[in-house]
C-alpha cells in the first residue's frame, strides 16, 4: 500500500478515536467503568507520537506496530482486544492487499479478538460491529463503502437492546440493556474513519 495513504489511514483512525474520547467515556460510564475513551485516547496518542516510524514501514509491520502500541499503552482490556485485532491484521494482510485479502484477514482478526476476550457475537461487544462489517466486505456491487459505513453504524445501534455477558458491563446484567456498547461504538467510528479517508 502507498505509504502516504497508509499514514493518512492510521492518522485518521487515531484522530477520530481521540476526538470521540469524551463520548466513548460517557458511554462507558453508563455500563462500564468509564475509562474506554481515555484509554483508547492514550493508546492512539502513543501511536501518533511515533507515526513516522510506524507508518514508514510496509503495511503488515505498520499494523503490528499499531497493535503493539495499543497493547502496551491503553491500560484496559481494550488494549489487548484492539491490539490483537491490529496485530492479527498485520500478520494476515500482504503489503498490497486486495479486497479479498481484507475480507479473509478481517475474519481471522475477528477470531483472534473472540479468543482474546473469550467472547462471541451477540454479547454486546465490539464483535457485534466487526462481524457484520466483515460480512459486508464480501458483498459485491456498487456502493460498498457506503454499505460498510451504514452497516457499522446500524450494528453499533443494535447493541443498545443487547444484554452484556462479557466484560465489566456484565456485572450490570439487565441494567446494561438500553445503552450502546462503547466498544461497538469505537469500532464503528474507526471503520468509518478508514472508509472516509480511503475515499473508496
Amino acid at each position: 500500500m502507498d505509504r502516504a495513504l497508509q499514514r493518512r489511514l492510521i492518522e485518521a483512525v487515531a484522530r477520530t478515536v481521540i476526538a470521540h474520547a469524551d463520548e466513548l467515556t460517557a458511554l462507558d460510564r453508563q455500563i462500564g467503568d468509564g475509562d474506554h475513551g481515555l484509554n483508547m485516547k492514550r493508546g492512539f496518542e502513543a501511536v501518533l507520537a511515533q507515526i513516522d516510524k510506524i507508518a514508514g514501514q510496509p503495511l503488515p509491520d505498520a499494523l503490528r506496530a499499531v497493535g503493539m502500541e495499543l497493547i502496551m499503552k491503553v491500560g484496559g482490556a481494550s488494549g489487548p482486544l484492539y491490539g490483537t485485532l491490529f496485530v492479527t491484521l498485520g500478520k494476515e494482510l500482504p503489503a498490497a492487499p486486495t479486497l479479498a485479502d481484507l475480507e479473509r484477514s478481517f475474519a481471522k482478526a475477528i477470531d483472534a479478538v473472540k479468543a482474546r476476550g473469550k467472547s462471541d457475537v451477540g454479547q454486546k461487544t465490539m464483535l457485534d460491529v466487526l462481524a457484520p462489517v466483515q460480512v459486508a466486505l464480501s458483498s459485491s456491487g456498487e456502493g460498498l463503502a457506503a454499505r460498510i459505513v451504514s452497516t457499522a453504524a446500524a450494528a453499533a445501534e443494535a447493541t443498545i437492546p443487547m444484554k452484556a455477558v462479557r466484560g465489566r458491563a456484565s456485572f450490570l446484567g439487565e441494567r446494561s440493556v438500553g445503552h450502546m456498547d462503547p466498544g461497538a461504538r469505537s469500532s464503528a467510528i474507526m471503520i468509518t474513519a478508514i472508509v472516509n479517508e480511503s475515499g473508496a
Partner: protein
C-alpha cells in the same frame, strides 16, 4: 528454595501495593511476591509491561500464580504472559479468585512448598464457597 511466586495485579496501585503488604506479613520472605497496579500513566487501570515486569520479579522455577481484580486486569495479564518465553509461559497461571483473599491463600499455600497447581486450586477454592 523454589516456592511458587505470587503476582498481584490491580487497577489501583494502592490496592496492589496494600495486598502485597498483607501477603508479605503472612509469609515473610519465603515466597517471591511482586505487584503491578495502575495504567501506564499511573491512573486506575493495568499495564501489560508492568505486569510482565512483575512476573519477572516474582519468577520462580516452581512457577508464578497471578491474582487479578477486574476484567481488564485479567485480559492484560493474559497478554503479558503471552509475551514471556515459551518455557516460562507454561509456568504462569491466572487464578480465578478474589485478589486480596486469593493472594493471601495462594501465598500461604506456596510457603509450604506446594506446586503451582495446588496454589491455584487453593486460591480458587474461595470462589466455590
Amino acid at each position: 528454595m523454589a516456592n511458587v511466586g505470587i503476582v498481584i495485579v490491580s487497577h489501583s496501585p494502592k490496592v496492589a501495593e496494600g495486598a502485597a503488604d498483607m501477603v508479605r506479613q503472612m509469609v515473610g520472605d519465603s515466597v517471591p511476591i511482586a505487584y503491578a497496579g495502575g495504567n501506564p500513566d499511573g491512573g486506575l487501570g493495568t499495564d501489560v509491561g508492568a505486569i510482565k515486569a512483575a512476573i519477572d520479579r516474582a519468577w520462580s522455577e516452581a512457577g508464578v500464580a497471578v491474582l487479578v481484580d477486574l476484567g481488564g486486569a485479567e485480559t492484560n495479564s493474559e497478554m503479558a504472559i503471552e509475551m514471556l518465553s515459551a518455557v516460562r509461559q507454561k509456568r504462569v497461571v491466572v487464578c480465578n479468585a478474589p485478589v486480596v483473599e486469593g493472594a493471601v491463600m495462594a501465598a500461604t499455600e506456596s510457603s509450604g512448598g506446594a506446586t503451582l497447581e495446588a496454589v491455584k486450586r487453593t486460591a480458587e477454592e474461595l470462589m466455590a464457597s
